[in-house]
């Protein structure tokens, strides 16, 4: 059987169900192992920061959570758009399954940012472009979930949610480039594809391990939730 046929085979919710279960279990295990490794490197290998002392150790959850919050939104909007264009039920279900996890990582990015801002900036919150656009992202996730919950017919709920998700996707590049476009209190990107990271290797390793752990966690949570959605809609 060719690979093309396999893809359409798994586009059906019923055949996807057992595959999602197997993949979710592997991802839960991967997330736990990567998080343990990341926490070990973050707290026992990475050195003290010369400027911020130990307060900087919040970076190991703050930056990966902020990355996930933006990335999950784009994946959610992408699935929603596929569902809207091709009426594939599984695509819309994936979008609904990603929303709560995305909202959770947005909340974590804001919470850890507040607790980092207090010792380094002297304030928990400031209406700065980066912080404000990230708060709008949280409202977009919550709005998507509330809208879908308010509509009884699943197909209409999928369509309405997809429109909101696609329009809201404009906010993601605004968050990402906010530190360049506006003069913000928030610092610029610590990691970019174009140049070497501006931090010690152990700090960078701890951050990447936690980012991979959050990736595995998000995939596991989304797959576990989509299984519930498939079974509930059956």
């Amino acid at each position: 059987m060719s690979a093309t046929i396999k893809w359409f085979w798994y586009a059906s919710p019923q055949t996807f169900l057992p595959l999602a279960g197997t993949m979710a279990r592997a991802c839960w295990a991967g997330a736990a192992l990567l998080a343990l490794a990341g926490l070990y490197v973050g707290f026992f290998v990475a050195p003290t920061d010369a400027q911020q002392g130990e307060a900087y150790r919040i970076i190991f959850i703050h930056v990966p959570a902020a990355w996930m919050s933006m990335f999950l939104y784009l994946v959610m909007a992408g699935w929603a758009a596929l569902g809207l264009a091709f009426h594939t039920r599984l695509s819309s279900m994936m979008a609904s399954a990603l929303a709560p996890t995305g909202a959770l990582f947005t909340f974590i990015a804001l919470w850890t940012g507040a607790l980092w801002g207090r010792p380094t900036w002297g304030t928990y919150w400031v209406w700065d472009a980066r912080l404000t656009s990230e708060l709008i992202l949280l409202f977009l996730y919550l709005g998507f979930m509330a809208l879908q919950a308010a509509i009884d017919d699943p197909r209409r709920a999928d369509r309405a949610g997809a429109l909101l998700a696609i329009v809201g996707a404009v906010n993601v590049p605004i968050i990402y480039y906010s530190v360049q476009w506006w003069n913000t209190l928030h610092q610029g990107a610590s990691v970019s594809l174009a140049k070497a990271p501006s931090m010690a290797a152990a700090m960078f390793a701890g951050m990447i391990l936690m980012a991979l752990a959050f990736w595995c966690y998000s995939i596991a949570a989304a797959l576990t939730r989509v299984r519930c959605i498939i079974l509930e809609r059956r």
Binding site: V45, G53, E54, I58, I61, F107, W111, T112, P119
Partner: protein, 46 residues
């Protein structure tokens, strides 16, 4: 990285409240999501 015992580790150079406040809420929130998923999975199978 040497912390000089557990008290040094928990103190986090005077930033203990901020660092542990961030980590506790993060892993607490993830644990709550896992619990809610376990509950929902059991309910849908029944």
């Amino acid at each position: 990285m040497s912390w000089g015992g557990w008290s040094g580790f928990w103190a986090m150079g005077g930033y203990g409240l901020y660092v542990w406040g961030a980590y506790a809420v993060t892993f607490g929130a993830l644990a709550l999501e896992i619990l809610s998923l376990v509950k929902r999975s059991h309910e849908t199978k029944a």
